[in-house]
Symmetry: C2
Subunit: 461 residues, 2 copies
């Protein structure tokens, strides 16, 4: 046991393993409640090295993330360097554009630079007198029964052992903390990969740092079995991501030469290609990322260890909710601390996992669902018509029909509730759409009557 | 690379990690084809220590297992020490018995002692001039790229490194070989535990080694949310297994004292209790086992490593197919070697996993399905009536309706096909049974006509 642990509960230090986005935000929350926090991170300080291994450059911050950032008073500062995206702009193979708003007027998701956000949170954490951050601390072994972390100081090569009374595992999808828990009896765990990989590419800025595509949009090139997306950066460039099968006739495996890549982009993304002068260099130099969904349970070990963020629920990126879900973990934990007090960790850990696990599972499903929507369905005029009809129904029945995207993105409705409502709505639309060929059809008495009947079955929200 | 690997393909040694049931049988198959085999086992030689950690004492051998044993000429010897079980005997709370045959006259599954079977296979493997068996060899590390196994000789404490060109991982549900593969990119893996544990108990032999229950039956005490089963041993005793929730009002957690156990067995298994004189001692001394389903993919690494048996598809024990499925892996691998020759390992490994993975997934589902059937449905008179009606349909349409249990147990139909047919049959019975209240109803013109119509939809087998 640590010699610090014998002091009063309020002064008992909490240990956080992993100083990524969730770990640094969590440390701030805990410190602001008066807890001393020791924050360990495997990698060197990213503010010195600038390296962020294998992670996307842009993130889409939405309401759940903002609320969590507001809780530590940093939302306004981040908003200054975020770019609002009010909707999706779809690019077809001929360069024709279609636009679909994400929500109501003024509602947006924000393109934010991951590195900037992480550095800002680390600066805040380190500036807090209660937080002690140590970088380059690799977890070699976690003794769950003995409550000890065996860490390697990567700079000096020295190993050291740290005792803990409460350990928070925020060390990401390949969490060492979870790794130790996985070896305990009756631990449910799954890692499932999509057959798609991703490649990060760049659309260059125009003259004087201008944006060569609409900057307040998330751009999608939906192509059925694959897609490219682009998110705006402050410097006028866009960060593009190609989501593409690993194997098959149209796949990473099939694009082996610069000429093949050039030809493929010319055929599929002809309007973007002239804006990507470094395409082939980037294509072959950047790694091909893989896309994993990780589920596990329990998220706690006894009353000593709790997993948060990607460590317990890594998801694919297609709903832009990975970070937002991890940040919401911090909000929920903070609420539970408000509710049960800062010493009743057994109750807090139990309630946390009971409350969050179904929502994390729903979000994992939603993320895969949105991949199909983005790469395939948004290119279908019938789907876009359906979305317009849904918006009309939502206006007519504002309390009873909240669009799924808005519930996930612009609300704090638990993900599991949003997902259940979304599935009910999909079933309703499957019954209505055969009777609707144009937007105007919505106003016919027949369709109005069908909508009225359907909505009678839907409970008020 | 091993210095042996540069010799001719036929003399190239094959490495098998894990000398359990599947590993020792596989080694025999490979050796009989002329391959030198090095077989490593983590545990000490079970023929010397007698220890078999955490595994059930009895196994139910059925047709798939027998076929695999016949392939190495050992089936007849094993059958001499197996006890045929021709059906299930259900015991209700009042001690009333119901009987349900497993198949047609003469068809049986065989209660076989795991230790005896493993020792027999090890004796045969060791007697084969091409097989070299090493016990007490713990896999510390597997270097997949370098094709090297780092082993610890547990007797001497010395570490040694073994190169391989082909490695077969038959090291069970917690496979070290699979453990290394899990860390490679895009490796799909899941471990899922039932909320039930199991406890092994004993019904003692009667005077002179007689059986105190019908010896040619598998006995079930189905109790809805839990059950006990018993399989006969040669010495007149029965090996009982209680499958029971870990937590809850009726659970392992709720039975904390000998008096509570005695009272519980007296209430639920009153006819068995007098036959279990060591019940409370066994209950508290024997470990409580957990029940895991493990799925993963791929089963191969490049063309060098292949997983078989529980290492790639551990399942829960309720269909008695875990060992049979692992033995069938050996049969299928042997067939692929016949088909493609003994050197085309890339094709053989690819075809093996493509062919076996869907069948292993189906068997995992079937095993959970049969748990519900055994602990709950077999106690329902309507279910038993349904099984009788199904037998009648099967007699009327022998090519088109093969009972699911028989397809799994008494045939070599791929598990996935059997499972699909079983689901179709369940759907048909759900439509028919509302029209059938007694066995005699089957012969009414109305029911006969319904059956005829249903069977028109079923393709001939």
């Amino acid at each position: 046991m640590s010699d610090l642990s014998s002091s009063s509960p309020a002064a008992e230090p909490l240990t956080v393993m992993g100083a990524g986005l969730v770990g640094s935000l969590l440390s701030l929350y805990l410190a602001q409640r008066g807890h001393p926090v020791r924050l360990f991170e495997r990698r060197p300080d990213p503010r010195r090295t600038g390296q962020l291994e294998g992670r996307s450059i842009n993130l889409a911050l939405s309401d759940r993330g903002w609320r969590a950032l507001e809780g530590v008073g940093v939302a306004d500062a981040i908003r200054q360097v975020g770019i609002p995206m009010y909707g999706r702009t779809m690019h077809d193979v001929h360069g024709q554009l279609t636009y679909q708003p994400y929500g109501q007027a003024g509602q947006a998701i924000y393109s934010v630079n991951r590195g900037h956000l992480n550095r800002t949170l680390l600066d805040l954490a380190e500036a807090h007198s209660q937080v002690q951050v140590s970088f380059g601390q690799q977890c070699l072994h976690l003794d769950l029964k003995g409550q000890q972390l065996q860490l390697l100081d990567t700079a000096s090569g020295r190993e050291h052992t740290e005792s803990y009374t409460r350990l928070f595992g925020t060390d990401g999808a390949f969490s060492a903390v979870r790794g130790a828990m996985q070896k305990t009896d009756r631990y449910d765990y799954s890692q499932h990969y999509l057959e798609y990989g991703y490649k990060e590419l760049t659309i260059e800025a125009g003259p004087g740092g201008s944006w060569l595509l609409e900057q307040n949009s998330l751009h999608i090139w939906p192509r059925g079995q694959f897609m490219m997306i682009a998110l705006p950066n402050l410097d006028g460039s866009f960060n593009c991501t190609l989501f593409f099968p690993f194997e098959g006739p149209v796949s990473f495996a099939a694009l082996q030469t610069p000429a093949q890549v050039q030809e493929f982009f010319n055929r599929e993304f002809a309007d973007a290609l002239p804006l990507m002068p470094h395409l082939t260099k980037e294509f072959f130099e950047h790694p091909t990322g893989s896309l994993v969904t990780i589920r596990c349970f329990p998220w706690k070990y006894d009353d000593d260890v709790l997993l948060l963020g990607d460590a317990s629920h890594a998801i694919v990126p297609f709903y832009g909710q990975g970070m937002n879900a991890g940040f919401e973990d911090c909000t929920v934990l903070n609420q539970l601390l408000d509710q049960h007090g800062d010493t009743d960790w057994p109750t807090i850990f139990s309630e946390f996992q009971a409350q969050r696990k179904p929502n994390a599972d729903a979000m994992a499903d939603l993320a895969v669902y949105n991949f199909v929507e983005m790469r395939d369905r948004v290119a279908d005029p019938r789907f876009l018509l359906q979305k317009k009809i849904e918006a009309k129904i939502s206006s007519l029945y504002p309390g009873r029909w909240k669009p799924l995207y808005a519930q996930v993105t612009f609300s704090h409705t638990p993900y599991a509730e949003a997902w259940a409502a979304g599935q009910r709505q999909d079933a309703i639309m499957a019954r209505l759409m055969p009777h609707i060929q144009t937007e105007a059809d919505f106003d016919t008495p027949e369709v109005q009557e069908r909508v009225r009947q359907e909505m009678e079955q839907v409970a008020g929200a």
